[in-house]
Amino acid sequence: MNENLQCLYAFIGCLGFTFIFRSNRYLRFGLVGALLGTLGFKIYLSFNYLDNVFLQNFIAMLTVSIFSELLARLFKAPATLFIVVGCFPLVPGSGIYDTMLFAVLGNNEAFINSFVTTLGIGISLAFAILISSTIFRMYKIIKTHDYANIE
């Protein structure tokens, strides 16, 4: 499969999802989010040599969410706007579907396999988003000297 073609599909697909998520008036956010999604998928592909879906997803999502936080500062918009669209090519949509299909078909071994993989990808994505938002929160606290009181 041609990777560039796949990236193009990811870009237009993400753009379509911004419309579905009711981003009709501010097209610039949709375009930026779709670009971020493509970037994330490109990074996922370029770390193919690691041969580990969890790590690949983690690195790709970490990049996407750090960029989202930076763009959120730039555009003065919530980071969710970019993360929701940008994570679409990485989100384990087909994994969830496969898992449940194996469950319905009664193929228990494949079901457990696919379930663990899907859950693992979900956890890696969530960790990546969490880590980037923690970094930016730490930066804000250091900048404003709003340290916590340790009791």
């Binding site: 599909y9 008036r25 919530p78 969710t80 384990p92 299909l101 078909l105």
Partner: protein
């Protein structure tokens, strides 16, 4: 200042944030900051995906408590952006409640561009079909499925059908169309058309968000969203699996 009106506006802001898919911690933080801006004390906010409770003490010492329920939540990025700007503006300038009310009415009065949403269904279904390895005819079928699904889901939402039933029926319809296309000989395999158009229904983002809530410490919200995501995934699989068993094997 008219505190009743102001608190009414703050509650509406919280409800709109919740309804349009803001993260739980953002709802809590926004309400917290809004109340702090107007010098309320002892502010406590608790939010879960369909409900939030707010209690505080007014500057004259009167206690206040309110809660709002938001049954149907869906992501609405435009309004999320507008609400974010409004919250930021209020915290900096502390405007009169009448001004906040005007802005809220303005945000809620924007009409949706339904054509654009329809186009979104068609192109994302077709493109994700290509993304999962479909050829051109597969993508055409997936785009057609997206178009039909848009109208189907629209009608079911108008009829207030429960989201689980909606997903079940929609996934049955989409796999039926794909299998029929294979039988008529337009495409050779139904797999990529089905997975491509299923991206419209699959709760991938709900699942990632729920894990994020859990890791961030909002266990109640995270677990309830996780249950929702798993049930929706199960209803998709039951719909697709049923049609596959009924109409000719697994492709």
């Amino acid at each position: 200042m008219d505190y009743n009106h102001l608190l009414e506006c703050i509650n509406t802001i919280g409800k709109l944030l919740l309804r349009h898919g803001a993260e739980i911690y953002r709802v809590e933080e926004s309400l917290d900051r809004l109340c702090e801006a107007y010098d309320f004390t002892e502010i406590e906010v608790f939010a879960i995906p369909t409900y939030f409770a707010l209690s505080l003490t007014l500057p004259d010492g009167t206690p206040y408590h309110s809660s709002r329920r938001s049954r149907s939540n869906r992501i609405h990025l435009d309004n999320l952006y507008d609400m974010n700007n409004l919250v930021r503006y209020i915290c900096e300038n502390k405007p009169d409640p009448r001004y906040i009310q005007e802005q809220l009415d303005l945000i809620q009065s924007h009409q949706l561009n339904l054509y654009l949403i329809c186009v979104g269904y068609v192109i994302s279904s077709a493109m994700f079909c290509g993304f999962f390895g479909g050829k051109t005819p597969d993508m055409v079928v997936a785009g057609l499925i997206g178009l039909i699904l848009y109208f189907f889901i629209y009608i079911l939402e108008k009829l207030r059908v429960n989201s689980l039933v909606r997903t079940l029926v929609a996934s049955m319809l989409l796999s039926y169309i794909a299998i029929t296309a294979v039988r008529l000989g337009y495409i050779t395999q139904a797999q990529s058309s089905i997975t491509g158009s299923l991206m419209l229904l699959v709760p991938g983002i709900a699942m990632t968000n729920s894990l994020r809530d859990i890791m961030g410490g909002d266990y109640v919200s995270g677990v309830s969203r996780m249950a929702e995501a798993i049930l929706i995934a199960a209803s998709i699989a039951i719909g697709v699996g049923m049609m596959m068993l009924l109409f000719g094997g697994v492709y």
